[in-house]
Symmetry: C2
Subunit: 191 residues, 2 copies
Amino acid sequence: MTDESQLRRQVVEAADRLFYAHGVQAVGMDAVRAEAKVSLKRLYSLFASKDDLVIEVLRFRSRQWDTGIAATAEGARTPREKLLAVYDFLGLWFEQDGFRGCAFINSFGELGGVSPRVAEVVRRQKADFQRYVADLVAQTGAPPSLAPQLALLAEGAQTTAAIAGDSAAAADARRAAETLIDAALAAGAAR
Amino acid sequence: MTDESQLRRQVVEAADRLFYAHGVQAVGMDAVRAEAKVSLKRLYSLFASKDDLVIEVLRFRSRQWDTGIAATAEGARTPREKLLAVYDFLGLWFEQDGFRGCAFINSFGELGGVSPRVAEVVRRQKADFQRYVADLVAQTGAPPSLAPQLALLAEGAQTTAAIAGDSAAAADARRAAETLIDAALAAGAAR
DNA sequence: TACAGTAGAGAACGAACGTTCTCTAGGCAA
DNA sequence: TTGCCTAGAGAACGTTCGTTCTCTACTGTA
C-alpha cells in the first residue's frame, strides 16, 4: 500500500518532468515508463489510462504550487508583503533551468479544447489562486477589486517569462503590484 | 497565382478555426482538408507539411492581431487612450463565441517544447506587442518601465478570460492600466 | 472522336501511440 | 526440489495520423 503510493508518486513526478518539458501529447507512455523506471504493466496498474495520469500530474503540480506559495508567504509579515511575496516566488521559479511557463496554462492550451477534465482541473487551480489573493487583499483593507488586478499580473508574468525566456517579468509584475496596492489603499483612505 | 494565394488563404483560415478550437495536435490534416473543402493533393501542393501550415496559421493570426489592434487605436486620440483601447479590444474579443485564449500562448504551450519554429513565431509576436506598447508609453511621456507592466496586464487578461471563461478580465486589466498610467505620469511630473 | 494533362477522391503506406497480451525468470511456500 | 504466483520485458494489436500513390473523370485541343 505504502509501496504503491510511493510508486504512484514516482511515476507522477517522472511524467510531470516529461509533460512539462515537451508537452503532454509529445510524450508517449513508453517514455514515461522509461523515465519512471517501471514496467508498462505496473504503469497501467497504477493509472488506468494516460488521461488519468495527466489529471494526477496536474493535481500534483497544484499541491506543489500551494506549498511553494505558502512557504514564500511564511517569510512575510504583513498581508501586503505576503501579496508581494507571490511575485518573488515567481521570480525564483522563472530563474530555474527548464522553466517553460505555467503547466496549467500550457495544458489548457493543449488539451482544454478536447478534455473537459483537464479544463476543469486548470479552472479550479486558477480559481484557488484568485481566492488566495482575494483573502490577502481583504486583509490589507483594500477594496476587493484590487484582487483580480494583482492576479492578472501574476498570470501575465508567467506567460511572458516563458515566451520571452526572460525572468524580468517577475520584477515588473512586483513593481506594478506595489503601485496598484498603494493606489488602492490611498483611495480607500481618502474616502 | 491569384487563384493559388486565394486557396492558401482559404486553407489557412479553415486550419486556424480548427487548430484554435481543438488544439493543433488534435486536428488531423484530413479534418483540415474537409473544413477547407480542398483535396488532400491540393492541400499538400499548397503546404509542404503540417508544420508549414501551422506556421502559416500563426503568421495569419499575427496579421489579424495587428490590424485589430490598429483599428481599435483608430478611435482613440491620445496615446493614453490608445493604450487603454488595447483592453477594450480584448474585451470585445473575449465576448466572442468560441474564444479560447491567445492562440500564440496556446501554441507555445502545446508545441513550444518540441518545435523551435513555433516558439520563434510566438516569441516574435509577443515582442512586437511589447514594442507597440512601449511606443505608446513613450508618447505619453511616462517612464519606459511602465510598458512591460501594461503588457503583463494584457497577457494575464487573455489567459484568465480563457480559463475562467469570463470576459471580466478585460475590464479588470483596463482599470489596473489606468491606475498604473496615472501613477507613472504623476511620478514623472513630481520629478 | 481521340488524346494528353490535370485534379479530385480516397485508398494505401509507414510510423507512432495507447493499451493489452505473452513469455519468461525469480521468489517463496511446502 | 517442485509447483505456483508475481512481475518485468517487450512483443503485439488496433487505431490514428501525416504523407504519398492510384485510379478515374473531366477539360480543352486537334
